[in-house]
C-alpha cells in the first residue's frame, strides 16, 4: 500500500512539476545546428524528412519570435540552408529564403541559398524572380535585377507582367511600389495564418512609406526642394499626420531623400 502511495506521489510530482520547468521558444529553437554534410550523412535516406523538420523549426521560429537579433537571424538563415541542402528539390526553403530572409537583413545568405536553387529547380520562375527582387530592392542594382526578371519571364507559368517589369527597370521606377506588388503576389500564395499576418504587417508599413513618398513628390513640385524633416509635410498641411509604423518605429527622411523607419521594418 505504501509503495503504491509513494508511486502515485512521485507521478504527481512529475506531472505538476512539469509546469515549473521554464520552456522558452527562443532557446528551444536556437539549438545548435549540425553541419549540412554531417546532417546528410547521419540522416541517410531519411534526409528529406530531416530537412522538413528543420524547415518547420525555422518557420515556427520566424512567425513566433518578434525582434530577432543578428545571431537569431543568422540561425534562421542557416536552418533554411540546411533544409534546402537536405532536400534540394523542395521549393519551400527557397521560398522562405526569397521572401523572408532578405527582410531580416540576411541578404548574402538568401542569395547563396537561391543561387543553389537555380541549379536544382531550373524550371521555377520564382527563384530568379526573388534574386531579381533582392538585387533591385536591397542592393539597388537595376541592371542585375532586370537580367534576373528577364530570366524568370522565360520560364513556364511566370506572370505576364514580368517582361514589362524587366524593361521598365531599365528606367528607374519606384522601389516601394515594386515591393508592394511583390508582397501582394506572395500574399496570394500563403495559407499559414501567422505568416500571412506578418506579411500583411509589412505590406501596411510599405503602403505608409509609399504614401509618404507620394506626398514628398508633391512637396518637391510645390517648393522645388525636399523638406528638412517629415514633420514639414504635416506643417504645410499636405497630410493630416504621419502614419504610424506597424513595427513600432518612426518614419524619417534619410539623407539621400528616402523614407525609412527607426524600426528597420523588423
Amino acid at each position: 500500500m505504501i509503495r503504491l502511495i509513494v508511486g502515485i506521489f512521485c507521478f504527481l510530482i512529475s506531472v505538476f512539476g512539469h509546469n515549473f520547468i521554464k520552456w522558452e521558444l527562443r532557446t528551444w529553437a536556437i539549438s545548435p545546428l549540425p553541419r549540412p554534410e554531417s546532417a546528410l550523412i547521419l540522416s541517410g535516406e531519411f534526409a528529406p524528412l530531416t530537412g522538413d523538420f528543420f524547415l518547420v523549426k525555422a518557420a515556427v521560429f520566424y512567425s513566433e519570435v518578434n525582434q530577432k537579433n543578428p545571431e537569431e537571424t543568422l540561425w534562421l538563415a542557416r536552418a533554411i540552408y540546411l533544409a534546402s541542402y537536405l532536400d534540394p528539390y523542395y521549393f519551400e526553403p527557397y521560398w522562405t529564403a526569397g521572401v523572408l530572409l532578405p527582410w531580416e537583413g540576411r541578404i548574402e545568405e538568401a542569395r547563396a541559398i537561391l543561387t543553389r536553387g537555380l541549379k536544382y529547380l531550373p524550371q521555377r520562375w520564382e527563384i530568379p524572380f526573388y534574386l531579381g527582387f533582392i538585387s533591385f530592392y536591397f542592393e539597388h542594382d537595376n541592371r542585375e535585377a532586370a537580367r534576373y526578371f528577364l530570366k524568370a519571364s522565360r520560364l513556364p507559368d511566370s506572370p505576364a507582367y514580368l517582361p514589362l517589369l524587366a524593361t521598365r527597370l531599365a528606367v528607374k521606377g519606384s522601389e516601394t511600389r515594386m515591393a508592394i506588388a511583390f508582397l501582394e503576389q506572395e500574399l496570394q500564395e500563403v495559407e499559414d495564418e501567422k505568416l500571412k499576418e506578418r506579411l500583411l504587417k509589412r505590406l501596411t508599413a510599405l503602403k505608409a512609406i509609399l504614401y509618404l513618398e507620394e506626398t514628398l513628390k508633391q512637396y518637391k513640385q510645390r517648393y522645388g526642394r525636399l523638406p528638412v524633416q517629415l514633420e514639414d509635410l504635416v506643417k504645410k498641411r499636405l497630410i493630416p499626420r504621419i502614419p504610424p509604423d506597424p513595427y513600432g518605429g518612426k518614419f524619417y527622411l534619410t539623407e539621400t531623400g528616402r523614407i525609412w523607419s527607426t524600426s528597420n521594418l523588423r
Binding site: F46, A59, D87, W95, E191
Partner: protein, 269 residues
C-alpha cells in the same frame, strides 16, 4: 522445390505470429493515417511533407522487418534448436537458407503492402482535402515504382541479414553487422558527392582510395531509393533502372550463395 516452399511458408507464419510484427504494423498504419496532420505544421506544400513521412515510414518499416526480424527469427531457430528438426529431414542446407529468404521476403512485402495501402489512402485523402491554393501534382505511378524498388532493397537487406546470421555466433552481432552494412550502403552516394565537392579536397588520398574500394565493394542501397524521384516527380532513366534492378538481384544472389555455402559447412551442435 516442395521443401523450399514449405520452409518459406513456415517462416512466413512464424513471423506473422510474432507480437512485434503486429505492433509495428499497427503503429505504422496509425502513423500513415495521421501523417497529414503532422505535415500541417509545415508551410506551403504540406502534401510534400505527407509524402516524405509516408515513404520514409515505409522505408523504416521495411528496415525493421528486414534486419531486426530476419536476424531474430534465424537466431531463434538456432537457439531453440528447431533447426535440427529441419536439418534431420531430407532437406538440403541450401534449401533451408533459400526457404528462409523467400519466407522473409514474403513477410516483408506483406507488411510493406499493408503500410502502402494505409499511406496511399491517407495521401489521397489529404490530397483531396488539403486547403492549398494550387493542388500539387502527385506522381502516383512513381510512388508505386518507389515501392517496388523499396521491396528489392529489402530483399537485399534480408540477404545481408541472412549472410551475417549464417556465421555470427549471436543474433545481436549479426544485427549489428547488418545495420552497419545498411548505414554505409545507404550513404555511399552521399559520401561520394561530398568527396567530389570542394569539401573533399581536404580529405587525404588514402581515405579516398579506401572509400573508392568500399564504393565498388559494398551494396549501394541509395541506388534503390526512389523516394525523392517520387515526391518531386523527377525524371527517371528507364534503362538505368533496369541496370539497378540487375545490380540488386545479383548482389542478393551472391550473398545467398555465400550464406548457403557457409551454412552447409557449419557444424550444428
Amino acid at each position: 522445390m516442395r521443401q523450399l516452399t514449405a520452409i518459406a511458408q513456415v517462416t512466413f507464419k512464424e513471423g506473422i505470429r510474432e507480437r512485434v510484427f503486429l505492433g509495428v504494423i499497427v503503429f505504422s498504419v496509425l502513423l500513415f493515417l495521421g501523417s497529414g496532420f503532422v505535415a500541417d505544421l509545415s508551410i506551403g506544400n504540406i502534401l510534400k511533407v505527407t509524402q516524405d513521412i509516408g515513404l520514409s515510414g515505409l522505408s523504416f518499416l521495411g528496415l525493421f522487418m528486414a534486419i531486426f526480424l530476419s536476424t531474430s527469427l534465424i537466431a531463434k531457430d538456432l537457439d531453440k534448436k528447431t533447426v535440427y528438426l529441419v536439418v534431420s529431414k531430407p532437406i538440403a542446407r541450401w534449401q533451408y537458407v533459400w526457404g528462409k529468404f523467400l519466407g522473409l521476403c514474403a513477410l516483408t512485402t506483406f507488411a510493406l503492402a499493408i503500410g502502402l495501402i494505409a499511406f496511399l489512402i491517407s495521401l489521397f485523402y489529404f490530397w483531396k482535402t488539403a486547403p492549398l491554393i494550387q493542388t500539387p501534382h502527385i506522381a502516383w505511378t512513381k510512388h508505386l515504382l518507389a515501392f517496388i524498388f523499396l521491396n528489392f532493397k529489402m530483399f537485399l537487406l534480408i540477404a545481408i541479414a541472412i549472410f551475417f546470421s549464417s556465421f555470427c555466433s549471436s543474433s545481436l552481432i549479426a544485427f549489428f553487422f547488418s545495420f552497419m552494412f545498411y548505414l554505409t550502403g545507404a550513404n555511399l552516394q552521399n559520401v561520394k558527392m561530398i568527396l567530389s565537392s570542394r569539401l573533399g579536397e581536404k580529405v587525404s588520398p588514402y581515405l579516398k582510395a579506401i572509400f573508392n574500394f568500399a564504393y565498388y565493394f559494398l551494396p549501394n542501397l541509395s541506388l534503390l531509393d526512389l523516394k525523392q524521384a517520387a515526391v518531386h516527380n523527377l525524371p527517371l532513366n528507364e534503362s538505368n533502372l533496369i541496370l539497378v534492378l540487375i545490380y540488386a538481384l545479383s548482389y542478393t544472389m551472391a550473398l545467398l550463395f555465400g550464406a548457403s555455402f557457409i551454412f552447409s559447412k557449419k557444424e550444428l551442435n
